[in-house]
Symmetry: C2
Subunit: 339 residues, 2 copies
Amino acid sequence: MTVAAECEVVVVGAGPVGIFSVFACGQLGMRCQVIDALSQIGGQCTALYPEKPIYDIPGFPSIEAADLIVRLEQQAAPFAPRYHLNQQAIGLRRNGARMLVETSAGVHLAAQAVILAAGVGAFGPNRPPLEGIESLEGRSVFYWITQRERFRGKTIAIAGGGDSAIDWALALNEIAAGVTLVHRRNRFRAAPASVAKLDELVAAGRIRIKTPFQLAELHQVNGGLEAITIADLDGRTERIPAQVLLPFFGLASDLTLLKGFGVELKANQVLVDALTMETAQPGVFAVGDVAGYAGKQKLILSGFVEATTAARSAFDLAFPGQAFQFQHSTHRGAPRLVV
Amino acid sequence: MTVAAECEVVVVGAGPVGIFSVFACGQLGMRCQVIDALSQIGGQCTALYPEKPIYDIPGFPSIEAADLIVRLEQQAAPFAPRYHLNQQAIGLRRNGARMLVETSAGVHLAAQAVILAAGVGAFGPNRPPLEGIESLEGRSVFYWITQRERFRGKTIAIAGGGDSAIDWALALNEIAAGVTLVHRRNRFRAAPASVAKLDELVAAGRIRIKTPFQLAELHQVNGGLEAITIADLDGRTERIPAQVLLPFFGLASDLTLLKGFGVELKANQVLVDALTMETAQPGVFAVGDVAGYAGKQKLILSGFVEATTAARSAFDLAFPGQAFQFQHSTHRGAPRLVV
């Protein structure tokens, strides 16, 4: 086994709170390595809703999620983090005060502390069981929308009955050649105002609704989607044209790998001591949505503070015996790596 | 007694955390009125160090303190706060569930909750006891520097022996016609690197040092400063030219007025329950530097989260019996006042 790199802190998860953990640790003289299952940093912000405005980050009356990530990345950059992407942290071994974190790519990282900033866990869409769907993903089939413009002029089938399905039916109707909404029940579970708007557009012939229907088959031409077959409960089928299929059946997330860290999971959160953000496992901290404690608010902002708390706690492990001296950032000066 | 205005929450202090409290309350449907002793909002950020870069606000690799305030003000603006400036909150009276906050200007504000975001308290400089000094303040005498350029080409006397005195001697030396540093001791209490730099500039004849000397007299011409007289411990005096005097004798801050709210002060902090930010006085919350609890980190960022916690607590008082429904800001949409 080769240890790829030494550092003070391994951060699991490169969402906004994971990235800010790099900054918070850096301010206290600790270098970080970050592991993420996705192919890019940013977590849900870049993967799920990059163009969505966030309104409650202090100092930003409005900021798109992807922009927030770009700015956090810049803020952490002076501390030269190494990002290990496309791999999951699968567990922890100890060697005295040193901890070894292993990833699914066989990388081993040594550190004095681990910060779990895993959000909802490694996440992915709930896939409808349709033959050939995987080969169409990213070209004709999308489980989330990162660029609305990509769908201009297309014939679109949307499947699902929740907010995502309705909201995107409304939003894409404005630019698509046609939108059909397929749902296996007759009723939609979405905000009443959205459903009312949907009813209006259906009455005006702008959106077609097919209920109660399920997806049954995909029809391809030249490697792209051409149509889908839908089926009702009695097995009656109908073929409808569709260049794009958007199945919105929710996300499945997976936190089970965190068990490899020996932490306690309860209702998809890792329990921590709010004073230190330490989990039941000494030296392993949790921050952001994955961290649970009394009074927890699931805000990105809360995660940022939790990151500074965890960094403060990790400091004592990274530099045992060294007194912690609090300094305001205005006094400390521009962030830089001190090794 | 006239009640000037009704609202859900009175915020005491218009520093960054006070302003963000307005936003956090607004997001939950509460309107705020804000009281501050200074003539402008922003607290220390605008009054003491508007041009200083802050590095640890998430999403801002660097932001000048005054810019942060401008952005926070924009963020809070949709909730139409009323700022009551140039006055101090002097106390609280109760009338059932309604609280009445009185200010030193005789204004009375009614609310269901109070958030104390008072920072270090109403603050001001330690003034040297020199005849006529008050009439020169803001023209020839400055206790803090908000615009360095204002001092270009001037003959400057700086009094004091700490970081502010040394740092400004070094910084103003670059643009001033001359800088004299007056200190009542022979040694300076400042960062060693700064003192070394000072020694260099003194050796090069760029900065003059007068120690051990104290300020004794101001000499005016045409309503401006012309020179100062300094005196040593034996009473020997010396007259030195100075168009500008910068006394850096620290800040005196005053939290005593908070006693009018019936809260418990300990080491210049109001003790709160970290879960709710409530003080010992029901319905009165404290956030930011003035709030004390186990594990407290004195960061602006911590204050922001404390503001969201206090707002959440105030919600139950403002809208008793109404169930709180958590919504992410991306889902709620652009901030707006809902009355």
